[in-house]
Amino acid sequence: MTTTSSSGPAVAVESISKRFGAVQALSGVSLAVAPGRFVSLLGPSGCGKTTLMRIIAGLDRQSEGRVLIDSRDMSRTAPHRRPVGLVFQRYALFPHMTVAENVGFALRLRGADRSATQARVQELLDLFQLGQFGGRSIDQLSGGQAQRVALARALADSPPVLLLDEPMSALDLKLRQAMQLELRRLQKQIGATFLFVTHDQDEAMVMSDEIVLMNNGEIVQQGTPEEVYGRPRSLFSARFLGEANLFSGPLRREAGATLLDAGSLLLKSHAAAGFAATRGWACIRPEAIRIEARSDNKTERRPNAAAGRVREAIFQGAYRRYVVELDGHSVLVQQPAGSDAAPTFGEGDRVDVSWSESGITYIEDADNA
């Protein structure tokens, strides 16, 4: 349908800003998505995710900046001329059409022949477990079914770029997990570029090649799920994606290592050579912390280790979580449950916690504490 130029990004926005009256919904957003990638937009409510989607689809006009689709400037192109599909946050199914008619809408528009349309519609309905719902009117659907119809409708004509605005928010956990895998498989199979908005960080990590983290109308970090989770570049990233133990204090360098002095705790890493700030934060993910029974009664300060007492022990099925009270700090520790080898602890137990240097990410003190 479209000729894909080999190298350029499938979608790119350049310095996009959007104001709604006094509200600055987006400020200076730039993003390039390579063809065939599955990219998730993640961020708190109101940070501008939907607005960005609408601008890419052409439904809203940016106040500033450019939109490039398949390396062509489409900043002023009408939505129906952009090779971009959109799954709406609130479904937006056509109430005067049946489920099958909704799904076949794009195909009928383009004048595809009847039997081909029917076959394609049935294929999609089956794929989304809606096989027997084709003849239903859309007000006879549950929220989750309506959402799947919306997905099927957007996919019917195989748009090279598909924008999905929280397309699975109405599904229950089981179905959602199944759909996540299904959607990912489908995306790989058709080779389309997906830009996917979600509130759910687990969903973003499971599905994405790349995560784009947004806050306050700006992109704060972009990278693979491993990078964004493992190497947060701001307190916001550290806190928004997963859980984080955060320690603040002055930083100093010593024989190629960077040390952060957080009072009773000393953090030390050789892997932060480029980090030049004199004050900052250290982020350690809960699963990067080891927990062991107290071996001795030494109280001197050692780097990357501390003694403490378990204040809370929580069993979560796949995990055990502990809140450990240290001298002046408390840390969250998470360990896989079920393995016979791992010792378990109860409230009040005296324990040692420690972490390896690679578990530490230093963050500049740029944004507020």
Partner: protein, 261 residues
């Protein structure tokens, strides 16, 4: 909630009496249109169709009926053409000027028709437009436009604006999106509103009388004949108009029930 038998009977009786009181005059008109006596008074003398034959044979009445239909159809088409876009503006934009626009639209609903008719008459005279069916149509549009605009805008306001956007992202041009999504959703409201306009235009007297010049519509004929007393011919014309209105309602009901795809 359940009601006692007595209260149901009381309520039914009350409703029936009320309806009978409201519809009795119409029934009487229809009854006397079949009476051979020649004056509208009891007792009923004997059935005849001669008044209907007279009405149908009368070239002046036939011309007036044709005029009524022309004015009603013309008014309705003009209302749909002008009113649909106005309804979209009122339903889809929020601004002080939209509110002012809507208020202005509603004004003809509130003004006495006699006054509107006189205003139109002196307006047409002052700018030198001769009175004709056309000027009558303009007058009728002025009065009936609010019915159509407000019926339609209420319906449009109930349609999710994202539906047109969804159609656009699926490849529909604005015209296609209107034809495949918006129009089917407002069609029944449009037909209902058009019916109101037709019925209203067929009925209208004061504005028609003042703006149509030397032509006649059925209500003008009725009024003219009434000055010589209530004649059986008038009853026959009235009965025919009631019949036409009922037919119109039935047709529209059928149309509105059909699913358009």
């Amino acid at each position: 909630m359940t009601y006692g038998r007595a209260s149901i009977i009381a309520f039914t009786t009350y409703t029936c009496v009320l309806l009978a009181f409201l519809f009795a005059p119409i029934a009487v008109v229809i009854l006397f249109s079949f009476d051979s006596k020649g004056i509208a008074a009891f007792p009923f003398q004997g059935p005849t169709l001669s008044w209907y034959q007279a009405v149908i044979a009368d070239p002046i009445i036939r011309k007036a009926a044709l005029n009524s239909v022309i004015v009603a159809v013309g008014t309705t088409l003009a209302c749909i053409l002008i009113g649909t876009s106005a309804a979209f503006v009122i339903a889809r934009t929020r601004s002080p000027s939209t509110t002012a626009f809507a208020g202005l639209m509603a004004l003809p609903l509130l003004l006495p028709h006699l006054l509107l008719g006189i205003a139109l008459l002196s307006f047409f005279n002052s700018i030198g437009i001769g009175l004709s069916l056309w000027t009558a149509i303009i007058g009728h549009v002025l009065i009936t436009l609010p019915f159509l605009v407000f019926t339609l805008s209420a319906r449009i306001a109930g349609i999710d604006p994202q539906l047109s956007e969804a159609a656009a992202t699926l490849g529909a041009s604005p015209a296609k999106a209107f034809a495949t999504v918006t129009l089917p959703l407002i069609r029944s409201a449009m037909i209902g509103a058009a019916l109101l306009v037709v019925a209203w235009s067929l009925d209208e007297f004061s504005v028609s009388f003042l703006t149509i010049g030397s032509s006649n519509t059925l209500p003008i004929i009725i009024w003219g004949q009434m000055r010589a007393g209530v004649s059986p011919t008038v009853n026959a014309i009235s009965a025919l108009m009631v019949l036409a209105t009922i037919l119109l309602v039935c047709i529209v009901h059928r149309l509105a029930d059909l699913k358009f795809r």
